[in-house]
């Protein structure tokens, strides 16, 4: 055991195509922001994107930018700028790193894409609090900064069953967005266009689900760490044919891997669940570390969050309300436990790693006794590691790795 063993991350061939479509997406947005006739909407990642797309908006997702700030490890230098204007280091580090990025005029977009100088200026900002309140505070800051209207949906929290009563209020809220969106975009709402976008998003969701389900195979073809990257198009390009074509391609490659018994991890010995946010600045590092331990991290709540089973073009409002209210993060503990239980079972997992992400309580499910309850119920050991999605000042690499290594030794001694 130990780190000396050389860990090789197997490259997914489709990555080149993904980089291309992501680049096209950002250039497209940049052009729209510079062109008065095109309107840009900022939207939370599980917000009513399909509605915005159907009304002709180019849609930008600040959370995606947040993840880029984390993955490029720029975040830890930018967060203090947001702290200095009053945003606590204890709140969402996407928010603080993103606002810090704006204040310090540093963005990974201009490093990755020549000619892009900054994030695209919003004409309207649209949130859904189904994830957390932080997204609303985050977009509100930019609303004041750009003097652009902010509108959104306030979803209940800790939902058990998604009842008609819950949904009717959300449908109502979605419909209330329309007059403002019509005014900002200058386009009339067209239900047929809405249905078309919903149909494409539904397809994207189905394909993404199939991609993730390839990991039920043994050995699993794709690691969680790969999946967090390949999730990009499902987040920012869902509703487009581009995303769907991409996932057809990726799926084909993964199915070939399954057929050839090519695992993401050579000599896969253990299979784990990752619960909680990725540690963006340590993706590669952790990916290699798990490979060196012959351990495949292959299922996660996080990557599953972009599966929207409910989408139905025949009933776009209700099904959108349902899809964005059924997501894991906004549900009660019973639902969450059953959800994880099902995956542990189907993916034949040996253990669950909970990431206690300092600045995202909403995605840190270890805090109300769940690891202990699940360990007992499923007879599967759990481990909690402390870290953060973006703020690496909250992460001790040494401690995390010792914990992970000790956890694998524990599995090994069974």
């Amino acid at each position: 055991m130990g780190e000396e063993k050389k860990a090789v991350i197997k490259k997914i061939q489709a990555t080149g195509q993904m980089k291309k479509i992501m680049a096209d997406y950002f250039y497209d947005l940049d052009n729209a922001a510079k062109d008065d006739s095109q309107k840009v909407a900022w939207c939370t990642s599980v917000g009513p994107a399909e509605l915005l797309l159907s009304m002709g908006f180019k849609v930008y997702y600040p959370e995606n930018h947040g993840a880029m700030l984390g993955a490029t490890r720029m975040a830890s230098n930018l967060i203090p700028a947001a702290n200095a204007i009053g945003y606590s280091p204890d709140i969402c580090s996407y928010l603080t790193s993103d606002i810090g990025s704006y204040l310090k005029k540093q963005t990974p977009l201009s490093m990755a894409y020549k000619g892009i100088e900054g994030v695209p200026k919003p004409d309207v900002l649209v949130f859904n609090t189904n994830q957390c309140r932080d997204v609303q505070d985050w977009l509100s800051w930019y609303s004041r900064e750009f003097n652009a209207p902010i509108i959104g949906i306030s979803t209940f929290c800790n939902i058990g069953d998604v009842t008609d009563g819950v949904l009717s209020g959300i449908v109502h809220q979605i419909k209330e967005l329309i007059p403002i969106l019509e005014k900002v975009s200058g386009n009339k709402f067209d239900i047929d266009k809405f249905r078309e976008v919903m149909a494409r998003s539904k397809r994207c969701s189905e394909l993404w689900k199939k991609v993730l389900e390839t990991n039920t195979a043994s050995p699993a073809p794709m690691s969680f760490f790969d999946a967090t990257i390949h999730m990009g198009p499902a987040v920012v390009l869902r509703g487009s044919d581009t995303a769907n074509d991409y996932y057809e391609l990726l799926l084909k490659e993964l199915e070939e891997r399954v057929a050839n018994k090519t695992g993401a991890v050579e000599d896969e010995k253990f299979r784990l669940y990752w619960e909680g946010m990725p540690i963006w600045g340590k993706l590669r590092n952790l990916s290699e570390f798990f490979i060196s331990l012959n351990t495949a991290v292959i299922a996660s709540t996080y990557c599953n969050s972009w599966i929207f089973n409910a989408f139905d073009p025949d009933d776009p409002f209700l099904s959108m309300a349902r899809a964005y209210t059924e997501i894991f993060i906004v549900r009660d503990e019973n639902y969450k436990e059953k959800y994880i239980e099902d995956i542990v079972d189907r993916f034949k997992l040996d253990g669950i790693v909970f990431h206690d992400s300092k600045t995202c309580p909403n995605n840190s499910n270890n805090r109300y006794g769940m690891p202990e309850r699940l360990a007992k119920k499923l007879s599967v050991p759990t481990l909690t590691i402390n870290g953060d999605l973006n703020d690496l000042r909250c992460y001790s690499e040494e401690q995390a790795k010792t914990n992970i290594e000790a956890f694998i030794e524990q599995l090994d001694s069974k």
Binding site: K5, E405, E409, D412
Partner: protein
């Protein structure tokens, strides 16, 4: 007779243990880890070899553990300190237990079942509270040598509650107690209680309780206080500071799992 070794490079001290075929400790050493883990590992190993008059140290199978486990080039394998402490403790106490190890930089609770398998473990989080580092910091503040803490705590007449969670807050809380004229011995006992509370917050105490680690080795009164607190006997292995290194040496014997080869 063959010899086997374990080297435990912790954040503060490095421990080496040499055992024989009968799993008896025949040589041991503790040195400061300092800034050069490799050097500390070698030093501790050499001293332990000297103690047991070993003339062919190159033939000893070594397993390294602790924060610096990857800094021992002559180790045949590595295991985490979690596994090594568990193995070391179970050797002396072969029954279901919750093992509490209080080290220089972190504390751990490890659950071991009746057959010696680990079922769960936890390490303290980001703060020094509940660890040796906490005691060191407070000793510096009170300007008393670390070695005197145990004796002072024993002399305490009163129990002063120290409530803060973090080391810095505790520091200011102590200043307030000093201003109030509280005796130093009572304050020291208060900080021992604080360490105990931090440990009890980490996990449930199931089965028999075992305590190990440097802090326990130097502060036996802490164990007594812990027993009083939980109303249960606490087992302490011989050489509590060496439990991890001893466990590593046991891995060297059975070679199980710990070797890269």
């Amino acid at each position: 007779m063959d010899y086997y070794a374990g080297i435990d490079i912790g954040a503060s001290t490095t421990k080496a243990v040499i055992i024989d075929d009968n799993r008896e400790i025949i040589g041991h050493a503790v040195v400061d880890s300092g800034a050069d883990f490799e050097k500390a590992g070698k030093q501790a190993f050499d001293s332990a070899c000297e103690m047991c008059h070993c003339d062919n140290p190159d033939e000893i199978i070594v397993t390294s553990t602790g924060y610096g486990r990857n800094n021992v080039p002559f180790a045949k394998g590595t295991m985490t300190e979690i596994s090594c402490h568990a193995t070391g403790s179970y050797h002396y106490f072969p029954f279901t237990q919750t093992l509490i190890d209080i080290g220089g930089q972190d504390s751990k609770t490890i659950k071991i079942n009746e057959s010696g398998k680990r079922t769960n473990f936890k390490m303290n989080r980001k703060c020094a509270a509940g660890t040796g580092a906490f005691l060191e910091e407070i000793a510096i503040r009170l300007k008393i040598p670390l070695e005197q803490l145990n004796e002072l705590a024993e002399k305490a007449e009163k129990t002063i509650p120290i409530g803060s969670y973090c080391t810095v807050f505790t520091g200011t809380e102590i200043l307030a107690r000093i201003r109030e004229g509280v005796a130093v011995a009572d304050i020291v006992k208060g900080i021992f209680i604080s360490v105990i509370k931090r440990v009890l917050e980490m996990d449930t105490m199931d089965g028999n309780i075992v305590m190990s680690g440097g802090v326990i080795a130097h502060n036996p009164y802490l164990v007594k206080m812990f027993e009083e607190r939980i109303g249960q006997k606490v087992y302490v292995p011989p050489h509590p500071q060496l439990t991890g290194a001893f466990g590593a040496a046991l891995y060297s014997i059975n070679g199980k799992g710990g070797f890269n080869a």
